[in-house]
């Protein structure tokens, strides 16, 4: 073997997990949203927050394997928080006070990036998504009933539709609770919306992350009651 081929061989390393790259994208989008915010914090504070965000994002990636989106793992009894809430936020510019909890950024191509660090203020997040054109329902439940079938929650006004996993994977990539989720609105079927669900506070500071806590999303039938349109 040629000497330089040998050297080249020695430089081969395994690829990074996609979630790791998605986390980097999420960090940049968070920094971008902070830069675009009119009420940017003082520089020193901004730096502290950014460092914290980085740890959170990458800490969440480390937990990815343990916290897989297992719809089959739904358990127990539902207690729904408010599922609908009027949106009043300016699109693509998250309310600054909520940056620590979640970020919604609409990109030029229409894709909407969502990153959730702590599942606080689901109604605010739902309003933010709807303001950016996403027919969305965001709910927090204490736990999931045994009768939950993977795309609807008994008692909730949203109902799953006929769309296959293949279609869903075209609409949503990534994971909002870890590395960040991308919603491709152009791929959203007619009369479809998106429902985001968590069974507890899934922020990476939560000791329950990966330990039975569920967070997921699925396509639902769009309706004024469920997704606002």
């Amino acid at each position: 073997m040629d000497l330089f081929q040998l050297l080249e061989e020695a430089g081969k390393v395994p690829p990074a997990q996609d979630a790791m790259i998605d986390a980097a994208v999420g960090l940049v989008l968070t920094a971008a949203s902070q830069e675009g915010s009119q009420s940017a914090p003082a520089p020193s504070l901004a730096r502290r927050r950014t460092r914290r965000h980085r740890r959170i994002a990458f800490g969440a990636v480390a937990s990815t394997a343990a916290a897989a989106l297992a719809v089959a793992a739904f358990l127990a009894v539902t207690a729904l928080l408010p599922a609908t809430h009027p949106g009043s936020r300016k699109p693509s510019h998250p309310v600054h006070a909520q940056l620590a909890a979640w970020t919604v950024v609409k990109q030029a191509d229409g894709t909407v990036n969502v990153k959730i660090r702590e599942f606080r203020d689901p109604a605010g997040l739902q309003a933010a998504l709807r303001a950016d054109g996403v027919p969305a329902s965001v709910i927090l439940v204490r736990s999931l009933p045994p009768s939950a079938n993977g795309n609807s929650i008994p008692g909730d006004p949203c109902h799953g539709g006929p769309w296959s996993q293949f279609v869903q994977d075209k609409v949503v990539t990534g994971n909002p609770f870890r590395a960040g989720m991308f919603i491709h609105l152009s791929a959203l079927p007619r009369h479809a919306g998106i429902q985001l669900v968590a069974t507890a506070n899934v922020g990476s500071n939560s000791p329950q992350l990966g330990g039975g806590t569920f967070a997921g999303y699925w396509l639902v039938q769009a309706s004024s009651r469920c997704t606002g349109s």
Partner: protein, 194 residues
């Protein structure tokens, strides 16, 4: 071009857009070069360090994107330069009080050497590479591991292209000579039968 026929912006376009009121456009650069930057870090550190530093590299790149030159063909050499600076800061942190920027002779060779040791013939490579001047070694590794041209190496290290070419030539020559010295068995001694 993605499956839907959409043409992705060039690195220069993405950076320009991000500076013109759409900072989120910089995400396209992360998508395109994220794996390469992570691999750069991983080749020069352990896996945990690479994971930990990846976010810092991208945040620094985002914040210093005004330094990006529009005529650059690719952002990758520039990103490697940022990654190297982040790594150097990490090495300084590990050895408090030691400014490796002021001491070009200091580099994290033990980290790389430990990884090479685990590969086939890595021990010999480690010895030879470790004996090279750190500046020459970095040029050689940018060429062999990151597949950069001398002009791109110059961008990455912030040195003139002619200097990069000269260092690469010198590094290749020394690398070959020293590896030959190690791996070539000594000539058999002549014995006379009496």
């Amino acid at each position: 071009v993605d499956p839907t026929g959409r043409v992705d912006p060039t690195d220069g376009d993405a950076v320009a857009q991000s500076l013109a009121g759409r900072p989120e456009a910089f995400a396209a650069v992360v998508h395109r070069h994220g794996q390469a930057v992570h691999a750069y870090l991983l080749r020069r550190s352990d896996g945990q360090t690479a994971d930990d530093l990846l976010g810092e590299v991208w945040l620094r790149a985002f914040r210093s994107r005004h330094n990006y030159k529009q005529h650059w063909h690719s952002a990758r050499p520039w990103l490697y330069g940022i990654a190297r600076n982040v790594l150097r800061a990490e090495w300084r942190r590990r050895v408090p009080g030691h400014d490796c920027l002021a001491d070009p002779g200091h580099d994290p060779w033990p980290d790389v050497d430990a990884r090479l040791d685990a590969t086939r013939q890595g021990a010999a490579l480690g010895v030879v590479l470790g004996a090279l001047n750190p500046k020459d070694r970095e040029v050689l590794l940018l060429a062999a591991w990151e597949h950069l041209s001398p002009a791109e190496i110059a961008v990455s290290l912030g040195i003139p292209a002619g200097t990069a070419r000269w260092r690469l030539h010198r590094a290749r020559t020394q690398f070959r000579q020293r590896l030959d010295e190690i791996t070539t068995p000594p000539p058999l001694a002549c014995t006379k039968e009496t």
